[in-house]
């Protein structure tokens, strides 16, 4: 039944298996869908989709299959791509223009059609073309919302309309790395030892047998300390402005680390572009919410593994000059590079994770400092593979 729909769901990126499809068929045989399409929609979604992040994919596929309801004006594929990977983040104050464009919907649609024919390339930050981050009525925030509304005006009565509304659009996570995968990677960062401060809670079988034997067969139970992970971790996040585009990625990493309860200790600090004499305790990097870097270096012993998370892209002066700190009013006596080298010296095992793809390091903004920092710390890109390679580095004895 609905084999074509099954394949369409798979083609739209839903990981539907035959098992689930059999379950659905069974459910249909039992008449669980009721008579209407709406019943089928809910039944199908509840069985086939197992994460709210996939509801949107399901809605799109459902609408496509059962009614041919279109995405707003059927945008060519590459338009969606341009729109979905957002290059620019707009200033928060830069908003008043949005209300200035009060076009009628039909007018908008007509203009949109025209523009679609004219446009041949990607646009970010303009005011005319279909693009992102700009003030054009078409694009990520302007047209998008209206278009969706146009796609699904409805009373929640008809399944295709419900699907067409795409209420779960915000939950999509196509481009976002799975925090679970990060966590699984962090699993590998462990080093067991029983030389820890803990209660003796595990039965030591060998010793028990020996002791019991020594006492002529009268039972003597011997307990031992459990073996625990002894890895201690210091994570330093760059929370500077240039990291904003990666904030979702880094917060996933943050989540993965803080949810991993197998470390002996985890400390988080934040810095702004480069490390100077203060480390912030909050990601907002506000003045006075900080500790002395010196204090951290003195009090966290050399066994800590250190992970820097940052784009390493900054002005050369921020790395090399005294007083290079980009925040006005904070003067640093020692250049950032010296601080980084002190970390390197103090903690043998350090890595730097960079959210910028490795293929762009050589020519992106800040390539000079990226290159320089790479000579101090082994640098990996912030992907599952990069993290795994980095963790290997942190575990390796030298």
């Amino acid at each position: 039944m609905f084999i074509a729909f099954f394949y369409l769901l798979r083609a739209r990126g839903l990981k539907v298996s035959i098992g689930e499809w059999m379950t659905l068929t069974r459910a249909l045989e039992q008449g669980l869908a009721g008579a209407g399409l709406t019943g089928f929609y809910w039944l199908c979604r509840t069985i086939v989709v197992c994460s709210e992040a996939d509801f949107d994919k399901f809605d799109v596929a459902f609408a496509e299959y059962f009614d041919g309801i279109k995405l707003p004006d059927d945008l060519p594929e590459e338009f969606w791509k341009w729109l979905s990977d957002d290059k620019q983040v707009r200033d928060q104050a830069d908003r008043e223009l949005a209300d200035a464009f009060l076009y009628e919907l039909d007018e908008l649609k007509r203009m949109f059609e025209e523009r679609k024919i004219e446009q041949t390339e990607r646009h970010d930050g303009g005011n005319y073309w279909i693009g992102t981050g700009g003030t054009s009525v078409f694009g990520n925030s302007g047209y998008h919302e209206r278009g969706i509304r146009a796609g699904g005006e409805g009373r929640h009565s008809h399944a295709v309309q419900v699907a067409g509304e795409r209420n779960f659009k915000d939950f999509r996570q196509d481009n976002i790395l799975d925090s679970r995968q990060f966590q699984v990677a962090f699993r590998k960062l462990r080093q067991y030892s029983s030389r820890i401060d803990a209660q003796k809670t595990e039965l030591d079988i060998d010793e028990t047998i020996k002791e019991t034997g020594d006492h002529g067969g009268s039972l003597r139970l011997v307990y031992a300390k459990p073996r625990k992970n002894t890895v201690k971790l210091l994570v330093l996040f760059d929370a500077g402005g240039s990291m904003r585009p990666y904030s979702r990625l880094t917060s996933r990493l943050f989540l993965a680390v803080s949810k991993s309860n197998h470390f002996k200790d985890v400390k988080f600090y934040y810095f702004h572009n480069c490390i100077y004499d203060k480390l912030y305790t909050e990601p907002q990097c506000r003045r006075n919410e900080w500790v002395d870097t010196e204090y951290v270096l003195n009090n966290l012993d050399a066994e800590y593994r250190v992970i820097f998370v940052g784009d390493a892209a900054m002005a050369p002066s921020e790395l090399d000059k005294r007083g290079g700190n980009a925040i006005i009013g904070l003067y640093n006596e020692r250049p950032g590079r010296e601080w980084l080298e002190r970390f390197r010296k103090r903690y043998g095992k350090c890595i730097w994770l960079n959210p910028i793809p490795a293929s762009e390091w050589a020519y992106t903004f800040g390539n000079y400092t990226i290159e320089q920092i790479e000579t101090i710390f082994p640098m990996f890109e912030l992907t599952i593979d990069g993290l795994e390679a980095g963790i290997k580095k942190l575990i390796a004895s030298r």
């Binding site: 098992g19 459910a27 509840t46 994460s51 009268s218 039972l219």
Partner: protein, 281 residues
């Protein structure tokens, strides 16, 4: 249509959306675990109690903690007790069965009548925890090697699993579940929910409070948005303190009931005063 279907319709103290009722009934009919996700405070745990109440079944709750292992839910073999007993000649130590104690899952399988089994906050446990339960939840049976006994469900329990999405769950596990995401209730639904809990609340107070509540939820930059349970607590606080509805408009009394983080309260004040906040990251 089977007579099992369309049984659950919510209960006197729990408002379930038609989609949620549908999901529950599908899960019951297909004998599959129902996985419930949703923002904290949308009544995930309450659902299982409500199902048990509505269908007049006993409920067994297995609360998952960070240290919980899958084995704990099946059975525990108390070796140490048995060893000691053998030393002092107490009881019949040849009968291993005396030292096997069933866990929550085991009890649910062993029950004479069908029960509702709530596996609460499955995402709290270790990453591999759900994978360790695949077989047991599929076949509703497990084997105790010590006694060579297979514990098999006499009546397949209705299994409700809740998750706060703190950890993502493994695919293999997800595939076996019926999934429902409890959406945050809209204003109409919310009014209905409040009425169930406080039937005689003043309507002026409720209206004002709801307005403020949704205003706060819509604020950008608030990390932990208040949810249903917070609204209910807040309303109770307002009623107990006898706050005049008109006052709620200007300032929000007991803001700490709604917002639990200092940072969120700062953001909230910023937005109320200046219309925006720069504290977000």
């Amino acid at each position: 249509m089977s007579d099992q279907f369309s049984k659950f319709k919510g209960s006197a103290d729990y408002v379930a959306s038609p989609e949620l009722q549908n999901a529950v009934n599908v899960a019951i009919a297909l004998e599959k675990p129902l996985l419930i996700k949703g923002e904290p405070g949308t009544g995930k745990t309450m659902l299982a109690r409500s199902i048990a109440g509505a269908l007049r079944k006993e409920i067994i709750i297995w609360n998952i903690k960070s240290t919980t292992k899958a084995q704990d839910g099946l059975y525990i073999y108390d070796t140490v007790q048995r060893l000691y007993d053998s030393q002092f000649g107490e009881g019949d130590v040849r009968d291993i069965g005396r030292y096997i104690r069933l866990g929550n899952l085991g009890e649910a399988f062993n029950a004479e009548k069908q029960v509702v089994l709530l596996i609460d906050e499955i995402d709290k446990a270790d990453l591999e925890f759900p994978n360790d339960l695949l077989w047991e939840l599929d076949l509703m049976e497990f084997f105790i090697p010590e006694t060579r006994v297979t514990v098999r469900a006499k009546e397949r329990p209705i299994v409700i699993i809740t998750s706060n999405a703190e950890k993502e769950l493994p695919d293999a596990f997800l595939r076996r579940c019926i999934f429902h995401y409890i959406e945050f209730p809209g204003e109409d639904k919310m009014a209905e929910i409040v009425k169930v809990h406080y039937p005689d609340i003043e309507s002026a107070l409720l209206r004002q409070a709801m307005e403020r509540f949704y205003e706060i939820r819509a604020m950008k930059g608030i990390q932990k948005r208040p949810s249903t349970s917070e609204l209910l607590n807040w309303l109770q606080a307002l009623v107990l303190a006898g706050i005049d509805p008109a006052r709620i408009k200007e300032d929000i009394p007991f803001i700490g009931v709604l917002l639990k983080k200092n940072q969120d309260i700062d953001v909230f004040r910023d937005i109320r005063e200046k219309g925006y906040s720069t504290r977000t990251w």
